[in-house]
């Protein structure tokens, strides 16, 4: 294991800002993994920390491919995490909306540029991502349809689903999009949680990434179950169930749950009187893929995304 600082910067009042990278093996740049980019992506960082621990151990035992290189960057944004902010604390900008970055530009553009320089040119790239809406997922690999998306390779994770979608204008500044455009086969892995490291999705995600490494010959002699035969789906195929009123959300169904048409999957409760304002019903038979996980619902909030069977 080789540890290095790929970017550092003085702060007006705080300790220096540093991005650390951990390298395993050497030779052909094969896999780069990026953990927390936002200050609340603690699970994402935890997963990377566990991968670093496991890879260090495997490398010492000679079980990491000698001719290829794995790079792990557990956090791009320790400053925001230390002060409990999701985005860059001074100006509220999101590093994951700054790619490919600009080394003469604003602070977060410079951070993005230095990260991108370090992770450019790898055959595969994995980003531990979080969704812009609060919720739980069935763990899956997500990729944008740029024309370069490596859908077949994504099955190597053995996660239940590989989810693809058309990029929107604001996606063009995200890491996944730019990685793909610059010829890295990029995957965003959604574990399903952001803040709870104990969650079972942490273990599933760590296994999935190790499985990907094993299936690509990057590590050997590791015991991992073979995982799922991933289903590929387009995000547009998911059925969105919205809240038709505001109130306290009482969730009944969770990711992985099977539902039948017209089954009650959540209730919106009157915030003062406790009565049921609205029964949220499944419009189809299927499996819950995404479920909102905050106890309050706004009118029109997407509460569930269901895989229609």
């Amino acid at each position: 294991m080789k540890k290095e600082i790929i970017f550092s910067m003085k702060s007006p009042y705080r300790d220096d800002f540093r991005i650390q990278a951990f390298r395993f093996g050497k030779g052909i740049k094969t896999l780069a993994i990026v953990g927390a980019m936002r200050g609340d992506e603690i699970q994402q960082q935890y997963i990377c920390s566990q991968l670093i621990r496991i890879l260090k151990d495997l490398e010492e035992k000679g079980k990491v491919a000698a001719d290829r290189e794995i790079l792990v960057i557990p956090s791009v944004n320790p400053f925001s995490m230390n002060v409990g902010k999701r985005f860059w604390a001074l100006d509220g900008t999101d590093i994951n909306r700054m790619f490919p970055g600009y080394d003469q530009g604003e602070t977060t553009q410079r951070i993005a540029a230095s990260l991108f320089k370090a992770i450019e040119g790898y055959e595969y790239g994995i980003q531990m991502a979080s969704y812009y809406m609060p919720g739980d997922f069935i763990p899956h690999v997500r990729m944008l349809q740029t024309g370069y998306e490596a859908v077949e390779d994504a099955k190597q994770f053995g996660l239940p689903y590989v989810c693809i979608r058309q990029p929107l204008p604001f996606d063009t500044t995200m890491l996944n999009y730019n990685w793909q455009i610059w010829n890295t086969k990029a995957f965003s892995v959604y574990g399903g949680q952001t803040n709870h490291v104990e969650d079972k999705t942490s273990k599933l995600t760590i296994e999935a990434i190790l499985r990907f490494m094993k299936n690509n010959g990057l590590i050997t002699s590791v015991n991992i179950n073979p995982g799922y035969l991933s289903d590929i789906m387009n995000e547009e195929e998911l059925i969105t169930v919205k809240s038709d009123s505001g109130g306290i959300l009482y969730r009944i169904k969770s990711p992985y749950d099977n539902v039948v048409e017209n089954e009650t999957i959540a209730r919106v409760i009157h915030p003062y009187e406790g009565s049921v304002i609205s029964e949220i019903k499944s419009p189809c038979n299927g499996v819950i893929f995404f479920a909102h996980n905050k106890p309050l619902a706004l009118q029109g909030d997407p509460l569930f995304k269901i895989i229609n069977s």
Binding site: P12, L90, E106, T107, F170, G246, L298, Q299
Partner: protein, 308 residues
Amino acid sequence: MIKTVVSSALPIDEKLRIKKNILTNGKGKKRICIVTGTHGDELEGQYVCFELINKIKANMEKLDGTVEIYPSLNPLGMDSITRGVPNFDLDMNRIFPGNPEGSMAEAAAFAICEDLKGADMVIDIHSSNIFLREIPQIRINVDEAEHLVPYARMLNIDFIWVHESATVLQATLAHSLNRCSTPTIVVEMGVGMRINHSMGNELVRGILNLMKNMGIWEGEISPAVISEPVISNGDNVIFLNADKSGIFLTETRNNTIVEKDELIGKIVDPLSGDILQTIKASERGLLFTIRAYPVVYEGSLIARIYKL
């Protein structure tokens, strides 16, 4: 007449309402819309809405057509000093034309777009952010320049910045409306969280002048002289960014011509007393942006100069 454009239930005994004021008179069919308050920390547009409504109401008989004023596209942000939409990750000006099936913010963006479509002119007023002080200026995507610059020149502002098109900006309100043939002009002026009356008065006069040219307003424009803006061409905007982190101090006034090598300001260390960096104009030009918020990191934007 006040009309609610969007109404959506919040969890606890409250509705989010996005409202507009419709002023209409005469037989004229033209409609101009003034929108602002997309970013909850930008307040310059509030003064413009207030003044414009009163100027028109005082001479209602001079109005021939419809003026619609939307002071706050992001009421929750305005009310909580939040730039974005509270509880939502994305900048509201990056989600247009919106999505009726999306989250509350995306559905609101969709309804706003639908409501504005078909207007003869939309003016979208922004006031930078808390970090930068901007001279009154209009920003136009190069693809729209030919069509929009003639209108922009009527708005009594100091500078028109014709900039390159960027994919990410396709999700702004202005781009979304321009794409569906609703001419939309973005004004940037002042600084976040503050109101500058004289800038606001100049823009109100500019809006009335534009309305007059469009045949919506028959009142006097006083004073009648409208300022002739500097119009940027090509790639002549220079960005000066901080090389050091510290406290930025300046005595330079925005909206002045700076000479090459003229001192713009310095970045200092309040602990050691050292000057970490002196920032000088790299070219002669119009200083149209200057840092307002003193705390800077490496990379923080300090100034923008339009090279003359």
